[in-house]
Amino acid sequence: MVRSRSGRLLALAAAALFLGACSVIGIPDSPLNALDPKGPFARRIDDLFWPVFWVAVVVFVLVEGGFLLAAVLFRDRPGRKEPRQIHGNTRLEIIWTVIPIVILASIAVPTFKGVFELTECGQNSYPVEVIGHQWWFEYRYPEAGVQTANVMVIPAGREVCASMTSDDVIHNFWVPALNGKRYLVPGQTTLLRLQADEPGLYQGQCAEFCGLSHALMKAQVRAVTEDEFQTWLTAQLEPALQPVEGSPAAEGLTVFQNRCTQCHTATPFSSVGLENFYGPNLTHFMDRGVIAGAYKDYSRENLAAWLANPPGEKPGSYMPDLKLTQQEIDALIAFLETLQ
C-alpha cells in the first residue's frame, strides 16, 4: 500500500515536472518558434490562441484535480461505508452541458472574425507568386518580372499577398513568425498574407509531407526596407557578369554550360528559359546565402559537398550525382561565386 502510494506521488511529481518544465523553463527557441510573432497576421493568431490556452489550463486544473481528488478522497479504506447509489443529477448535468457551450460560443465569435480577416489579401498588398517543387520553393514577382528561389525577399511593414501553387505534389508554405500554414496545391491557387514588422530573416519550412526530402525543404523570408526592396528588384533583372578570361571562374562557366544548363538557368549563360527548367534560377545565386532548397547555409564546404553528391545530401534529389571531379567542383564554385 505504502509502496504504491509513494510510487503514485513520484509519478505525479515527475509528470508535473515535465509539464511544468515544458512551459516554464523553456529551451533555446528554434528558428521556427510559432509562439514568437513578428508581423500583424501571426500576432493576430497568437492573440486568438492565448486566451483559449488559459481557459484550457483552468479546465485542465479543475477536471484533473477532480479526478485526483476523487481517487484520493474516495479510495476504499477499511471501514469506508458502501456508497449511496446515485444514478445522476439532472441539474448538475445541465450545468456541465451549458457551461462548455457558453465557453465555446465565446471562443467561436473571435475565431469567426479571425478566419475571415486573415484569409483574404488586402487591397494594396504586394503580389508574389510561390511555386512549390520537390524540394524547393520558387518565387516570382509578376509586377517586376523577377524570378528567384529559396529566399523570398519582401518589403518590411508592407503586406505581401502570396498566391501559391505547386508544380508537382502538395506542399505547405510555413513561416511561423509571419503567418500560419497554407497548402500549395497543383492546379489550384491558394493565398497567404505575409507581413513582417521589421527587416530581418524569417525561417520557414514545407510542412506537408511531400516525399523523400520533405524534411529538408526549407524556406526563408528576407524582409528589407522599401528602398532596399526596390534596389533588389532592379538588381535581380540584371544579367550575370562575364567571368574574366582564363580565370578559374571562366573555367567554371565551361563546366556549368556543359553539365548544368539542361536544368538551371543563369542569364545570359543558359538557353533554358524561365518556363522550362528543373532547378532554381542561378543568375543571382550568391544573393541568397543558402543552397539546396535553403536547407543549408552557403559556404564553400557545404556547396562542394552538395555538388559532389546531391542525392547523398538530399535523398531523392532531382539533381543527379554528376560524378564531377574535384577540379570541376572548385571551378564551378569559383564561377557560382561570381553570380552576385
Binding site: 448535468e93 462548455p100 484569409t119 500560419g180 509531407f209
Partner: protein
Amino acid sequence: MTTAAERAATIFRRPAPEKGIWSWITTVDHKRIGVMYGYSAFIFFIIGGLEALLLRIHLSQAESNFLTAAEYNGLFTTHGVTMVFLVIMPMGAAFMNYLLPLMIGARDVAFPRLNALSYWIFLFGGLFLYSGILFSGMAAPIGVEGVSGNLDPSDITRLGALPDGGWFFYQPNASRDFSPGTAVDFAALGLQILGIASLISAVNFIVTIFNLRAKGMRLLRMPVFIWMSLVVAFLLLFSLPIIAIALFMVTFDRQFGTLFFDATGGGDPILWQHLFWLFGHPEVYILILPAMGIVSEILPVFSRKPLFGYAAVVFAGAGIGFLGFGVWAHHMFASGITPAAQAGFGIATMTIAVPTGVKIFNWLGTMWLGRIRLAPPMLFAIGFLAMFTIGGLSGVTHSIVPSDWQQTDTYYIVGHFHYVLFGGAIFGIFGGLYYWFPKFAGRMLNERLGKIHFWLWFIGFNMTFAPMHWLGFQGMIRRTWRYHPSLEFWNQIVSIGAFIIALGLVVFIFNWVRSRRHGPIAGMDPWDARTLEWSIPNPTPVHNFSTVPTVHGLDEFWHRKYGEDDEGRPVRKDDADSYVARLGEEGNDPAVPIHLPNPTYFPFLMAAGLPLIGYGIIFHTSAVGKALIAIGVLLSLSALMGWATEPLEEGHHGPVEAH
C-alpha cells in the same frame, strides 16, 4: 448423426475438431474469434511499437543517420497504418466479439460464419499489407517517371520498400508519378481488404444488438459498452464505403491511369483529402468509442456506484458519432478551403467538445462519493480519463481555426492525437484486458505487476507525448527525418519515454503469459461486477448461458446480488452468495442440450481469395498476376457456393441427445 442424404448434398463434410489448429481455423464461436482478433492485434501492436522505437532512436539526434529518409518515411507510414487499422480497430473488434453476446445475454452473434469471415479477412488483409515489403522494389518510391529523382546507393534498403505516403496517402504524392513501384498499392489494397472485414462485422454487430438481446433488455438497459459498440458499428457502416470508393479511385489512378486526383488531367488532389477525412474523422471515433465503453463499464464496478447519468453518457456517445461526420475538414484548415467552410467546420469541431465534456463530467460523477478500489483495471480507466482530457483540451485549440494554421502538421498534433488514441484508446483497451482477463482465462492477472505496468506507462507516456506539444510550438514539423539541433534535448526525453513504454509492455506480456497458466483461479464474479457476462462461469463456457437470463433493469447482475437500505446504500442480499454459486454450477452444466453453430471451412477459404486478387491487381500486367486474379476469384466464389450449400448439420453441446 448425419444421414446419407444430408451428406450427399455437399462436397465437403462439416469439420468437427474441437482442439488443435483446425478447430481455430474452422471455429465460428464468437469468443474464439474474439481471442484470435485480440492476439493478432496484439502482435501487430508489438510490430507497430517496434516501428515507433526505431523512429524514436532515429529522432534522438537532430542529424541522425540511423535510418535513411526512405526508411524513416516508410516506418512512420506503417506505424500509423498498423496502429489504426491493425491494432486499435481489431482490438475494439476483439472486445466486441468476445463480450457483445455475453453482455446482452446471447449465445453467439447473429451471423457466426460472417463473424469468422470478418476475422480471416482482417488477418489476410494485414498480412497482405505487410507482405508488400517483400514484393516491392528496394528503392524507395521516388520521382516522376522518366525524370526520376535520384538516390544514393547506400540509401537503397529493404526497409525502404515500405509504403511511404503517410497513413493519409495524400495525392498526388502517393500517385503513380510520385510514388512509382508497388509499395503504395499494397497499402491501398490492403486497407481495402481490411475495410471489407470491418464492414461485415459492423452489419453483424448491429443485427446482433438489435435482435439477440435477452428478454427484458431494452435499449436503455444495455451496458454502455454495448451502446458504444452500436454507435461504432453504425460509424463503420456509413464511413467505410467512403474510403472504399476513395481507395478504389486511388487504385484505378495508379493501376489503370484514371485521373481522379491528378490535377494535370483535370482531377482534384483536394478531393482525395475530403474523401479520406470524411472517413478518417469518423474513424477517430471508431477508435475511441469502444475504449469509452470499456471505461464506462470499469468505473462503476470499481467505484461500487452505478454510472452517473447513464442516459447522458449514452446519448453523448451517439451525439459524438453523429457530429463526427460533420467535422472532417478540420484536418484541412490549411488547404485553402473558403473562410466560410473553415469557420463552419471550426464551429462543428467546437460542438463536439460538448458531448465529450458531458462524458468526462459524468465519469467524474461516477467516481465521486464512491468506494474506489485502485486495482489495475481502475488505474487504467483513470489514466484514460486523465489523458483523454488533455487530448480533448488540445483538440479544442485546433478548433480555433487560425491557431490551427500554426499547429497543423507539427508535433503539437502528434502529441494531441497520441493523448487521445494512446492515452485514450490504448489505455482504455488495456484497462479492459485487465478487467476481462478472468472472463477469458478463468484466472487473475498479477495485481502488483499490473500496477507496475500502469505506472511505467503513465510516466513513460507523459514523457513521450507531453514534450511533443512544446516541440510543435517550436516548429518541429511532422514526418520530419531531420530537425533543428535546438530541439534535440526534448526529443531525447521523448525517446527515453518511448522505451519506458516498451518496458511497461514487457511487464504486461510477462504477467499475461505467467498468469495464463499460474494465476490464481478467478472463480465466479471476481470484481463483484454489475453486468451479465459475470453471471456465468470463468472462463466462459462454450455455450455462454445455460439459461438465458431475463433482464429487469440496468446492471441486472448487481441488482440480483444487492438491495438498497434506507440511505440508498447497497446491502448484499442474504442469498447472493448461494445465488452466484448456483449460477456457477448451472453455467458449466446446462440442464438441457444446447445446440451451437457448427464449425466451417468456408469463411477461411473465402477470405483467402482476397489477397490473391490483391496480388493479381498489383501485378496485373504479368501473366502470373492475371492468373492470381482468376484463382482468387474462383476460390472466393467456390467458397461462397460451399458456404451457401453447407448442410445445417445438428451439432450439440452438453448431454447427448437420443436419436
